[in-house]
């Protein structure tokens, strides 16, 4: 049986890299004594896959992984057992049974929400917040997108699903996953250029709120949507 787990990564644990988070959960699952499935061979490993990797230094309350289980108890019990052995900052929010036809978490990812707040001592927040709506109303937003191999011009407007100033923070919903992955930093750089403010990497505190997939109608819904509660 396949299950999906939603968890948070908060506080200092934002400095734990993606590979280490994977190792961390493998050990945590052993401590929680989940009846997880293993691969065959001399060094069996757990059948577990993670959704979108989170950049170092970014906090999140919308992280996911899928696991193959030999047997399960109730979702609430599995969640409690894992939570009893979590490091401070990691918290399991939900455990659901995946539908048979569900794509893996990694393949399903289609979008993410971010909240970006300002770190003291850098730019003046209002300088940026005041221009957010004008920025977002542009017809097109062309940026230099860098990948490992090439650098290209790209209009990111179609992939910027929402952008607004909220209280003292910026909220954004962007395309994510294997097709078009928009990093929040890329948007922030473009906003700064638009407002003629120097982009400083450390001016922003980035927090991922949720990770989405698309449902049958093409709507963005939480990755938990591909599953059902385990009674």
């Amino acid at each position: 049986m396949k299950i999906r787990v939603k968890y948070t990564k908060m506080g200092p644990l934002r400095y734990i890299g993606h590979l280490d988070v994977m190792r961390y959960f493998q050990k945590a699952i052993r401590r929680a004594d989940w009846d997880i499935a293993y691969s065959q061979g001399y060094s069996p490993h757990q059948l577990i896959t993670f959704a979108a990797p989170l950049g170092l230094g970014i906090t999140s309350e919308g992280e996911y992984f899928d696991a193959d289980m030999c047997s399960v108890t109730s979702g609430a019990d599995m969640k409690d057992r894992l939570n009893r052995t979590m490091a401070e900052g990691m918290e399991v929010r939900a455990v659901v049974a995946l539908d048979d036809d569900a794509k893996t978490a990694m393949a399903a990812v289609a979008g993410s929400d971010y909240r970006i707040s300002f770190r003291d001592g850098y730019c003046i927040p209002s300088d940026i917040l005041s221009g957010i709506s004008a920025f977002y109303e542009q017809e097109e937003i062309v940026v230099q997108k860098r990948s490992k191999t090439k650098e290209m011009q790209m209009d990111i407007k179609p992939f910027l699903y929402a952008l607004s100033a909220e209280d003292d923070a910026i909220f954004m919903r962007v395309s994510a996953g294997s097709v078009v992955n928009i990093k929040p930093e890329l948007v922030l750089e473009a906003v700064c250029r638009f407002m003629d403010v120097e982009y400083q990497r450390f001016a922003f505190r980035i927090h991922r709120l949720e990770t989405y997939m698309r449902d049958g109608n093409g709507e963005l819904v939480s990755l938990l949507h591909a599953g059902k509660e385990i009674p």
Binding site: P12, L13, Y15, I16, G17, S43, H45, G57, A87, E88
Partner: protein, 621 residues
Amino acid sequence: MEKLALSDEILMQIEKPARYIGKEINSIIKDPSDIEIRFAMCFPDVYEIGMSYLGIQILYDMLNRMDDVWCERVYSPWLDLDAIMRKEGIPLFALESQDPIRMFDFLGITLQYEMCYTNVLQILDLSGIPLLAAERSDSDPIVIGGGPCSYNPEPIADFFDIFYIGEGETVYRELMDAYKRNRKAGGSRLRFLEAAAEIEGIYVPQFYDICYHPDGTIQEVCIRNPHAKQKIRKQVVMDFSDTPYPMKPIVPFLKVTQDRVTLEIQRGCIRGCRFCQAGSIYRPTREKNVEQMKQYAMEMIRSTGHEEITLSSLSSSDYRALPELTEFLIEEMGKKKVNIALPSLRIDAFSLDVMKRVQDIKKSSLTFAAEAGTQRLRDVINKGLTEDMIREGAMKAFQGGWNKVKFYFMLGLPTETEEDLRGIPLLCEQLAEDYYTIPKEERSGKVSITASSSFFVPKPFTPFQWAAMDSEETFLQKAHFVKEEFKKQKNRKSLSYRYHDADLTVMEGIFARGDRKLAPVILQAYRGGCIYDAWHEYFRRDVWEQAFRDHGIEPDFYIGRERSTEEILPWDFIDIGVSKAFLIREWERAKRGETTQNCKQGCSGCGAAVFGGGVCLENQS
């Protein structure tokens, strides 16, 4: 809790910030207002190395079981962070509380290898603690050294307030109580050190003056404080059944060198190899109870979630309950999908069977710590391993499907001749020939025999503590000679040979048997920019050489000469139980090529029986 000693800006620009944030599973957080003593435990190397070391986990667990003590950890900041901390004046901090080390009561530093000495100074310096013990004030932490290198602490004696000689489990409570008593009485740092000096196993170097002969050897050790002892008796645990063991070791986020559960099954070694310091200083051999080991294994796997477990001891094959324990582990760990990593066992029918069951033969190799190429030289070092044993073991393994062999040798052993060097490739060649006597259909392809050699370093408290050590040039000549000899072998395509760096070995040799005259050299090398010397790429030979010259120190004095058994050695003030008379006897037997029985075959009266337990008592029954 968001408290971090380093800012986001710093954490984002250094390599592996997870080294510095703490928060690992099973790390201990206490409320500082509830405790009386803050202890920082340090391994002076990078996090991934330090976290892999069992000794710190043992002491961390033991100290944190004390209600009035909070023990935290600190490791050497890597070079990137080191530079930032110096530039920005950020004080070194402990991982758990992220508080500066400077405000702690104690800083304990474990000394596992000599090449960490400049890192010790790095730790003190970044903490803002004066490097010289003599310059510290009442508000500085008490700096304690321990671990194998403290069996000759003299080269770094000036940097430490206290050395704890021996196994950590015994007198820490006494030391903590003395500290609390002194503080309550409003006593000074000096008063505390005096009280500490009276505790068994505790050495306070500043209470001793060393006088030298004009030739540089020690003339006399004078005690300058009436509280100091003439001899420091090493500490040993004689009853493990009620000695705490870390059932909940810390689980790092980062992948560290030893990312697994380590089960210590015994301390000490019965073998008496004459080059081996551990075999001497951990005498007598003490086995731990097998039922307890089973229980620990289960508990530690449960509390850590590690996917691998390994056994720790100097010679696991000598642990009497090994078959019972491995049987249990294979059964129970198999259920939990936990790998068993076996330490190098003596190759015999039993170990081959076990290895076959726990690892993939195709990937695993046989390991022989032969140490020397000929039987004559193996007798000199009292390595109880004969060529027949090696060939028989290897043949059994070849027939069982193995085709990879690893050999470890040492170059520069006392009495070594060209014959002995030539013996190294010859032994490897012999095994290759043995392999190819197996019919083609029954063997698994080509054999691969890898020999690697390190250079011999004479260590304190071994029968070779008086021996001369080779120079770097001689070492390299020998290694080249062996390499050339390998090329002459018929099966050379199946053989390969590698050797270690000689420059670091020579440094290690100097410090291993050094004296207090070396402290200024270490200090100058550190001030000249040396740290992480153990990492060959950061070892700055030119700076070290300059430091030796500037202080008029001739390294050859420490390594190049055979010492007389009459000479007062810098570490003679330590009593490890094993007597000097025994070591002299062994040194003489070695020169005559005579072997000595191991402790299970019979007692050779080394002196360690004074501790009244372990293998010494088994022998009497």
